[in-house]
């Protein structure tokens, strides 16, 4: 039985924007050096959902991306692999075949990504197709239009229906925080998604200008923490879009550690949705190991 079913959707608590800003300033002032830095960089790699979500995606592009996922950096074969490769439903079968027996998951966006502007039945078909093609994880988008119209129950029911269609696949719910307003709205959307059955909540599609930020992630992590305090159930978090350098990624880890604790510092509970982050992290790892920065030409692009 679904653990979420008997919980009523609570009134979301207010969020103080200035307070969140103060908190983020403190997180950003943490100094991550030496062995902690190395540990963090490797952790970041293991949490990346390597992503290609383009109209121009082809079979071979997806294969190349999978090749990168499997071999992040040839000189350092002991580095962890990324957590997942994230593609459109039509490419799930291709990715699944490439990643067979690697332990790397295939994640697929579904529900008429990125706008979500279609009928529920079509969204559910989209999800089922991706799951049937072998997706281990589904990244859905919420209906922002309905949310902004105040139809919170619709948004809730839709997420619950998608969760059911996911079957065993883990569901990440994209709030598209850049479209739903201020931090209070983001907190509300987080609560709706969590109580409706999200395994992960995710900030953004990466398709609009405003993507993941530390303050937005902080508010979403607080929603996860409040839910954990009430139920003892962990929910995952995935900031996506705009996290393209290692330093910023490490600040996200600090925020997760200090908000939720070490139990969330695992790809099971925290992911980065990013396409260019991996190479910057690799560059920093190479710097830590060799003592000097190497040119971008030494890191494969796929």
């Amino acid at each position: 039985m679904d653990k979420h079913k008997f919980l009523e959707l609570p009134k979301s608590p207010p969020v103080d924007q200035v307070g969140v800003g103060d908190r983020i300033n403190r997180v950003q002032s943490r100094s991550i050096k030496k062995s902690t830095k190395m540990e963090g960089l490797e952790m970041v790699l293991s949490m990346i959902d390597l992503t290609t979500l383009e109209g121009q995606d082809t079979v071979n592009k997806v294969r190349q991306l999978c090749a990168k996922a499997k071999r992040l950096h040839e000189p350092y074969p002991d580095l962890p692999a990324v957590a997942a490769v994230c593609v459109y439903p039509s490419m799930v079968a291709v990715a699944k075949k490439e990643l067979k027996n690697t332990g790397i998951n295939v994640a697929s966006v579904a529900t008429a990504f990125p706008s979500g502007q279609t009928l529920l039945d079509i969204k559910l078909d989209d999800v089922r197709f991706a799951v049937d093609s072998g997706a281990d994880e589904i990244d859905m988008v919420i209906s922002r239009g309905k949310f902004l119209q105040g139809e919170y129950n619709y948004v809730f029911d839709e997420i619950a229906a998608v969760k059911e269609a996911c079957n065993k696949a883990r569901l990440k719910v994209i709030l598209e925080t850049g479209e739903i307003g201020n931090l209070d709205s983001i907190r509300k959307a987080s609560d709706i998604a969590i109580y409706a059955g999200a395994d992960f909540i995710k900030t953004s599609t990466g398709k609009i200008g405003k993507a993941a930020t530390l303050p937005v992630t902080c508010v979403m992590l607080e929603a996860i923490r409040d839910y954990y305090f009430k139920t003892g159930t962990q929910v995952g978090m995935k900031p996506a879009g705009g996290i393209s350098n290692a330093k910023l990624a490490l600040q996200y880890l600090v925020l997760v550690k200090e908000t939720l604790g070490d139990a969330w510092l695992d790809k099971q509970w925290f992911r980065f949705g990013a396409s260019s982050l991996a190479n910057d992290v690799l560059k920093q790892i190479a710097k830590q190991k060799s003592g000097s920065y190497q040119s971008g030409d030494y890191f494969s692009i796929d």
Binding site: D16, G19, S29, S31, K34, K37, G40, A263
Partner: protein
């Protein structure tokens, strides 16, 4: 916090700020007439680093003859300084501000070594704010008549200023900047455990080429301060410190015609309503009481939580306290530094015992306490009431006492139920509640949905036993002027 919390993931490695760029002399004399002068009795005391008890420098102990020399220097300098075109005085203040900014790293490191506060605070709060005070008051120097329209403004003369050990350079700036901007000359006495940044400031004053005698710095203990207070040729006493000493000063100057401003102790109420943004309020509680190890006169040491949300607030508070990093003040990740002195640590420990003896539940997160130096883990007492001693008396350490309340009327009454009245905090999402409450609070500063925010433009000072007079803002000028 989760059940399968593995140990030691992503623990922060040491990230100490370098001390290579700082210079501390082995011995510091008294700073009189822009020169270093040996103390008359040739006595010195040690200034130590409270985080490892290592000696940093010897500091001169001034007696009443030394103080007299300093006051005479200030008196001699006064007429010229007071008659200097006001915009020229302003220029000197700007110059001091800029030099502090240039040397900010050195100041921050020395402040943390001498006082024990985390480098994050000395770097991000103390030193930038000290410079900001000189800049702000430098701007007022030639506009004093606009601050008090229709009145004639004149400086008072020689100001004797005695500052505490919790924000050594910042308090020196709070005192010196308005006095100088208004045309007074000064004899400043820093606290005996934290004289070093004031003595570095003396070097700044030399570098800024202030006319000799305008700022004099005499170091020493309580008797040096008493000599300054009792000196007949001092026109004004400005003191920040304990209420006990404040009362003593007031008694000593009674009938002498000396003007005084006293910024004394506090036992601030920090009030959390059930409709507050609790997650941010928790951060505000932490900042309110554990900032600078609780060595803050306006610290939010009495926490009032609406009973309906007390479990949630305590749960979150304890979790957040578990993330605080205690240790080397120079480590950039340190949240809780060293207690300023052995004596202060003993005082704090005494109160911890009293709290436990009174049957209050004490919580401290599991932290490794360094072997050398003076340390106190952040502490929380729950189940407190107004009648408990740890609620009534100022502890001046990282110790929070939590009480619950039921209604807004009750909490206003209890928040005001203290001899102090320096500051307060209120946390609610409802604006009308903020205005209702703040207008009834007898406290010099009330922060709404934030805590411990300081700015040179904002006056600071107390009600009742927290003292009188204001520092900062336009109000702060009045303390150094004769208006007619």
């Amino acid at each position: 916090m989760a059940k399968d919390n593995k140990k030691g993931i992503f623990e922060y490695s040491a990230a100490p700020e370098s001390t290579g760029h700082i210079s501390i002399k082995e011995q510091y004399d008294l700073f009189i007439n822009n020169q270093w002068v040996k103390p008359q009795q040739g006595k010195y005391f040690d200034s130590i680093n409270p985080s490892n008890e290592n000696k940093l420098a010897s500091v001169a102990r001034a007696n009443d003859k030394d103080v007299d020399k300093a006051v005479k220097a200030a008196r001699k300098a006064f007429p010229t300084w007071a008659k200097l075109p006001a915009k020229e005085r302003g220029k000197y203040l700007y110059r001091i501000a800029r030099i502090i900014q240039e040397k900010s790293r050195e100041f921050a490191v020395i402040e943390s070594m001498d006082g024990g506060k985390p480098i994050r605070e000395s770097r991000d709060v103390d030193i930038p704010l000290a410079a900001a005070h000189f800049f702000y008051l430098g701007g007022w120097a030639d506009k004093l008549e606009y601050a008090f329209p229709g009145q004639n403004v004149e400086p008072l003369g020689v100001a004797g200023q005695i500052i505490p050990w919790n924000f050594p350079l910042l308090m020196a700036a709070w005192k010196l900047a308005p006095a100088l901007a208004c045309g007074n000359t000064v004899v400043l006495k820093p606290a005996e455990t934290t004289s070093l940044t004031a003595l570095k400031l003396a070097e700044v004053i030399q570098e800024a080429e202030l006319p000799e005698g305008v700022v004099n710095i005499v170091t020493g203990e309580g008797d040096t301060g008493a000599a300054l207070v009792n000196h007949p040729d001092v026109n004004k006493i400005a003191f920040t410190g304990s209420t006990d000493v404040g009362k003593l000063i007031q008694r000593s100057i009674a009938g002498t015609g000396k003007k005084a401003t006293l910024e004394l102790g506090g036992k601030a109420a920090n009030i959390i309503f059930e409709d507050a943004a609790i997650n941010q309020a928790v951060e505000g509680i932490i900042n309110g009481i554990y900032f600078n190890q609780g060595h803050v006169c306006c610290a939010g040491s009495r926490l009032f939580v609406q009973e309906s949300v007390v479990d949630e607030v305590i749960l979150k508070l304890k979790q957040r306290m578990g993330n605080l990093v205690l240790g080397d003040p120079l480590d950039k990740n340190t949240d809780i530094g060293a207690i300023n002195s052995k004596g202060q640590l003993q005082t704090i420990k005494k109160y911890l015992e009293i709290g436990k003896k009174d049957g209050l539940e004490m919580f401290q997160p599991k932290l490794t306490i360094p072997k050398k130096g003076f340390w106190c883990a952040p502490t929380l007492f729950t189940g407190a009431a107004q009648s408990h001693q740890i609620v009534q008396e100022e502890i001046f350490g990282p110790v929070l006492a939590v009480q619950t309340f039921r209604t807004i009327e009750e909490v206003i009454q209890k928040a005001n139920n203290t001899p102090y009245g320096l500051s307060a905090g209120v946390w609610t999402d409802k604006g009308s509640k903020i205005f209702n409450l703040t207008s009834k609070m007898r406290a010099g500063v009330v922060w709404a949905n934030t805590y411990n925010k300081f700015d040179p433009t904002s006056p600071f000072g107390g009600y009742k036993e927290s003292g009188y007079g204001r520092e900062g803002g336009v109000h702060g000028l009045e303390a150094y002027l004769k208006l007619s």
